[in-house]
């Protein structure tokens, strides 16, 4: 199911170009802000929860997910180099599964690790806030990577759609329309984080069972569908 050559090509494509700069810039920004807040305002649990929830989980994680998820597949389809993968006796779902693993790993490294660091900087993991949000980032990384990998497989405008979903749906609608929150990767991951923290600073609108089921269903369905789409991917000619 996992092909090391496909993985190597994907890692190098993701981490070799300008993408790496963007992937690195957001986490650095988060840590820089955390340091500034800690120095200026001192340690405060509520502030830590606000920054980790509003900046890290609601903004940074989905954006990293968009970059890694769409970047693992989209550019190869755009420039036609995917033909070198498709013209091999490898099962299409293997290609998708491998790229998913890579996208998840990259999203986790660039979102969960800085979230943990920022959490410790902000309040030294008081009330388990740093760990709770890190777990949320890890869980969200899986679902985002799967969703955006699918998007990169089916659409040429994957990055735009991905950012619209991440910023408009998750951040804006999520805070305005209560129903939208049920269908939000962010809320599902918060449900898991709530369980970890045990306190009342990390809360979700979705119950843990619902959240877990939805996370698994979305990840599995998106991955399966991306594999099916890749099996019938049509490479347009130059004509």
């Amino acid at each position: 199911m996992y092909d090391p050559t496909v993985a190597r090509l994907t890692y190098r494509a993701l981490l070799g170009r300008r993408r790496a700069l963007i992937l690195g810039a957001l986490p650095l920004l988060l840590i820089a802000i955390s340091v500034a807040v800690r120095v200026l305002a001192g340690a405060d649990d509520q502030t830590a929860a606000d920054i980790l929830g509003g900046l890290a989980l609601a903004t940074m994680v989905p954006i990293i997910g968009v970059i890694a998820g769409t970047g693992a597949m989209g550019p190869e389809i755009d420039d036609g180099s995917v033909v070198y993968l498709l013209s091999k006796p490898i099962k299409r779902p293997t290609i998708i599964y491998t790229k998913l693993i890579v996208a998840i790993a990259v999203t986790m490294v660039f979102s969960a690790v800085p979230t943990l660091i920022a959490g410790f900087v902000l309040n030294g993991n008081g009330q388990q806030i740093a760990v709770a949000y890190t777990v949320a980032a890890l869980v969200a990384s899986i679902a985002y990577a799967a969703l955006f990998l699918l998007l990169g497989t089916v659409s040429r405008h994957a990055v735009v759609f991905g950012l619209v979903y991440a910023l408009v749906w998750e951040a804006l609608f999520g805070s305005l329309v209560p129903g939208a929150r049920t269908l939000s990767v962010q809320q599902w991951s918060l449900a898991v984080a709530q369980k970890v923290s045990g306190g009342d600073l990390v809360t979700s609108d979705v119950g843990l069972t619902t959240a877990t089921v939805l996370l698994v269903v979305v990840t599995v369905l998106a991955t399966w569908y991306a594999g099916q789409k890749l099996r019938t991917l049509t490479l347009a000619g130059e004509e």
Binding site: D3, T5, S81, S87, G237, E238, E239
Partner: protein
């Protein structure tokens, strides 16, 4: 011995018919797929390579369906026309990756790089390669598993004459070894120099199939039309029509020119300046009026 069979294949995109009911069999040796730009060659090659489903009809490789069948790629090597090819890798890394995806190792990759004579630049990034070098590395990636069928989409585009010759030698060698090699081109001379057998596609239809000499003759035996302006059109017309290489002349008053139909191309081109000189006539314009490839093809379709 590998045979690719295309059986009553059509492909349309919305209302546009790109490939219209084509049936052909491609066997061992070098086959040229010839047709003007936009004739449907790339669409056809994409269907042969399993990257596009035929709307109707079937494409099979020794009886196995090509579409949605990854296993056929053990036998197929593909050289796509598009340039995208992991520019951030070196040539060697690229070919090794292609070998690994076939379950082979660095040794097979090295052999393929040697075959295309790219060892000297194998450790440079692909981004720094010239068009011809890219084409050769693509070839190496397609040859790494010693496929019995090689599909190449416009492989000579943008290559300089020397690179072109090298690639032709290589493809000829592949054909001599008994592999089935199919390449597309819109340039008659390329196909003529390389292919033993040609398939002509015009406007999505299969226009001709067979030995290139026969088809070439059909193309060259057709009447050539010229538009000629001179200092004395009528005197020139009288002198030209006396020679059997000219089959008809029309005096076009609107254009102020002669429309000449020549049947023997070689003879006519040496006759015209000679006759003009003998009669003291100055030639002002001599332009072939139907030399574009499309008109050559449409003549062929009519034939």
């Amino acid at each position: 011995m590998t045979t690719l069979s295309i059986d009553h294949v059509s492909r349309w995109f919305g209302n546009v018919v790109a490939v219209n009911d084509i049936t052909m069999t491609v066997g061992p040796g070098v086959t040229g797929l010839l047709g003007p730009n936009g004739a449907g060659k790339s669409t056809l090659i994409n269907m042969m390579g399993g990257f596009l489903a035929p709307s109707t009809g079937t494409v099979t490789l020794d009886g196995q369906t090509v579409w949605r069948n990854e296993k056929v790629y053990r036998q197929i090597g593909i050289v796509p026309e598009r340039e995208g090819m992991y520019d951030f890798l070196t040539g060697r890394e690229f070919v090794v990756a292609n070998a690994e995806l076939h379950g082979l190792g660095a040794k097979a990759a090295q052999q393929a790089l040697a075959t295309v004579e790219m060892e000297y630049a194998q450790d440079r990034k692909i981004a720094t390669y010239s068009k011809g070098m890219r084409q050769r590395v693509k070839m190496a990636s397609a040859l790494v598993h010693e496929p019995s069928l090689l599909l190449l989409d416009e492989p000579f585009n943008g290559m300089d004459p020397r690179q072109r010759m090298q690639l032709m030698d290589l493809l000829r060698r592949m054909g001599d070894e008994g592999r089935t090699v199919l390449f597309s081109s819109h340039i008659l001379e390329e196909v003529e120099q390389l292919a033993w057998h040609i398939e002509v596609v015009v406007a999505g239809r299969h226009a001709a199939s067979g030995d290139f000499r026969k088809i070439r003759r059909l193309m060259t035996d057709r009447p050539h039309r010229y538009l000629v302006r001179s200092s004395d059109d009528r005197a020139l017309a009288a002198a030209l029509i006396a020679d059997p290489s000219t089959s008809g002349i029309e005096v076009d008053h609107g254009e102020g020119a002669l429309r000449i139909q020549a049947v023997d191309f070689a003879r006519f081109t040496s006759l015209l300046p000679r006759v003009a000189k003998e009669h003291g006539i100055r030639l002002l314009t001599v332009s072939p009026s139907d030399e574009s490839l499309e008109s050559v093809f449409s003549y062929l379709v009519a034939a």
